[in-house]
Symmetry: C2
Amino acid sequence: MRLAVLGTGMVGNAIATRLVELGHEVTMGSRTAGNERAVAWAATAGERGHAGTFADAAEFGELIFSCIAGVHTLEALDAAGRSHLEGKVIVDVANPLDFTHGMPPTLSVCNTDSLGEQIQRTFPECRVVKALNTMNCSVMVDPASLPGDHVAFVCGSYADAKQEVIALLETFGWPRARVVDLGDIAASRGTEMYVSLWLRLWGAVGGPHFNITLAS
Amino acid sequence: MRLAVLGTGMVGNAIATRLVELGHEVTMGSRTAGNERAVAWAATAGERGHAGTFADAAEFGELIFSCIAGVHTLEALDAAGRSHLEGKVIVDVANPLDFTHGMPPTLSVCNTDSLGEQIQRTFPECRVVKALNTMNCSVMVDPASLPGDHVAFVCGSYADAKQEVIALLETFGWPRARVVDLGDIAASRGTEMYVSLWLRLWGAVGGPHFNITLAS
């Protein structure tokens, strides 16, 4: 499959690398064509890894992972170009963290709206699936690195798009039974607002490599 | 020990009943002296259960469980009377759920503030511990009713108060190792904002009797 990974940070790197390992062709997209981190990633990723602009990546990908800092997601998708996004699934992995008021970050949108909903509203010709934003990238791409039946959440308003993303998550190592479908895209409020607890759990656990399991 | 439980809803009932079972004396407080639900609870609770106003309960209790709907907590504590609260530990079990915009509820305060912090700021002569607000009351008072090492969170800015509350939670059936201290009272933002995810998990799990375990 041909995939776009928008974003050159830790999350984008982890997901793009995992996708190439799984045999996919990946273009990592960034604001500018010669972005050092994207070019460096593509150089180590082998022949299936490419670097380009957001627009290059979005045009290339049949499915798009949005791994940009949440407060910049909408402008990055706008730069990617509506015509390159049309009809595609966007997997929104980001949290709208606002660091402008110091640490810990707050959210730039929450409670009555969410980044996932904003993307879906802004790009109604796409099908947005919120996923993987409740854990560190080390867990996203290697769930077996933690013990127990810890879970990944997906939500979105298009059932077919969620099924497509769940199938991809299975190849990442997430058993289908551990992918919890929370319903429509408005459930993004829940998984994004969880980041406030997650940041405190980081402190309590002593690092970011953890996740949650459901006891029921 | 003499305890106050403010609130006559499901949460107040569950906690007051558990405390009486454990041998404590409990006054359930409500807005008015003759509140039917408080009187009915006291009648079934036996000689260690009493009903009264918020002020009666707060005066009676050496420690205070605040189990009022979160949007009414501050006015209930105000009615309880500052002189009755002074120097005491307040265990804030509530979430500031706002149902005025329909279902699912939103939060009346979040992101840059929380109910826990509001209580601590408004009653600086008290020591506030946020606890148990991340689960249904059936789990709060009977953690063994769910499998696995699921957890309870506490936070607060006074270490001695947290230790006092953790000791009480142990008597509820929470092993100390499963009570996670998230830090100061500002961590209330995290445990309160988690309710948005919790409401969606209710739907996914098929009922409110669940909790989360940490995988690390």
